[in-house]
Each structure stands twice: as structure tokens, then as C-alpha cells.
Subunit: 136 residues, 2 copies
């Protein structure tokens, strides 16, 4: 299961995808519409900005907006930016790999099974983009 933080990030990105090209969107507007605790959302958006997927503008008329077209960011990229691993166990993670203490990857059945599921998941998440998160 993805963490709440990641889930909130995806919801927020989906909302911003729907408003792409319309200028800055208030944190409070996103929080209200996507039912996200506003203070938690603040920290998430800030992090997304620091990772260059979002831009922001301060002061009156300010807010957050996508750095580039929603079609250019895949769900796999978005999840990795905040949530970390997509794989179910560390020894098959591309970006958060850790070696098992107890097994040989060449012969480990668990490794094989989890590798298959990771590939199946990635195949989907690398095809879908933020544009597909727009309602309707």
C-alpha cells in the first residue's frame, strides 16, 4: 500500500493537472477539494516543488502549478518522487535496492515472483501520466 503522503501527492498532482495552464492554484483549494489536511499538504507540495515537478508563486495571486505538461510525467515518476519504492520487497527495487541477508538472488523463488509483479506494475505505471488523473 502506498503511504498517505504518496496518495495525497497523487491526488494533488491530479488536481493540478486538471488546472494546468490556468495559473497558480491555492494550497487551500487543493486541500478542500481533495480532502487533504492542509498542513500536511503544505509539506508535500513543498517537497514536490523541491523535486522540480511543481512550481510556486508567493503572495497574492500565488499558489502551485505543474512545471510541465501533465502528459510528460508518468505515475511511476510521481510515486518515486515522494513515496519511494514501487517494488514489494527491497531486493527487487530498482531505485531502493537492498540485498537480502539470507538468500541468493539467482535461486530465490521469492525474488523471482516479486520481480514479475514489479515488472507488471511498472509496465502500467510507466505508461500512465498525470493527464490520466484528470476526472471525467
Amino acid at each position: 500500500m502506498l503511504s498517505k503522503k504518496t496518495q495525497y501527492a497523487l491526488k494533488a498532482l491530479g488536481y493540478l493537472a486538471g488546472k494546468f495552464g490556468e495559473g497558480p492554484v491555492l494550497i487551500s483549494e487543493i486541500a478542500k477539494n481533495k480532502k487533504i489536511p492542509i498542513k500536511f499538504l503544505e509539506t508535500i507540495l513543498l517537497e514536490l516543488k523541491q523535486r522540480n515537478i511543481l512550481e510556486s508563486k508567493k503572495g497574492k495571486g500565488g499558489g502551485y502549478f505543474l512545471h510541465q505538461s501533465p502528459k510528460k510525467t508518468t505515475l511511476a515518476q510521481a510515486i518515486r518522487l515522494v513515496g519511494g519504492p514501487i517494488a514489494l520487497i527491497p531486493c527487487v527495487s530498482l531505485n531502493f535496492y537492498e540485498k537480502c541477508k539470507d538468500c541468493n538472488e539467482a535461486t530465490c523463488g521469492l525474488n523471482k515472483a516479486m520481480l514479475l509483479t514489479r515488472d507488471a506494475t511498472l509496465k502500467i505505471l510507466e505508461k500512465k501520466t498525470l493527464a490520466e488523473l484528470i476526472d471525467g
Copy 2:
């Protein structure tokens, strides 16, 4: 990512699958071979027993063993018994479903994407059994 508890449970079940038919296996033997903190493993195995996937024998010559042939338990079943959800978000979980507060499932793009990944994952995990966790 699966919790440590779930990962340990899968490792232990794989070990017991390899010893199926050879009588009870000591907790300490599993812990040593699969590098699992023994006291943590105790609680995990006890839970698996209470869910009828394992049986145990007390006293000298005792230990844990699979209740039925490793081929009869799928990885999906095993994960659900200890780890909970396989889906990435609650609104597409079969066994741990929760409705989203902020969206209509019929039109939600995130829901659709996550439904696809859940199905792809399940297709694999429902085919693989504990027997496939045996090394070699």
C-alpha cells in the same frame, strides 16, 4: 512495499515449504537460516498458526510445519494473512476496501490506474504458491 513482518512471514513460509513432510521445524532453525530476529519470528509464526496456515507441536521434537502442501497456498493468500492489502490504494483493495472521500470511483483516473496494477499483481500472486519459494 510489504512490511518487514510480511517479508519475514514469506521467508519463513518458504523455508517451511522446503521442509514439508519432514516433521516439525524449530523456530530457532528458521530464524538462524533466514536471518530473522527470533522473538519477532515467534509472534509471526504464532499468528500464522492462528490463521490455520501453520501447525505446531510443543515440547521436545516440537516446532512448526505447514498445515497443507505448499502447492495449496498461493502467495496472495499468504500475504493477506499477515500483511494486509496487496492493492496500492484502499479504494481498489478487495480485502481492505475503503471509499475515497474526495472522488467518484466511476470517473476517477487514479482509481482506474490502480485497479489495473492490482489486477496485474494479483494475476501473478494468485498463480504462484509457497512451493515456488523453495530455493534451487
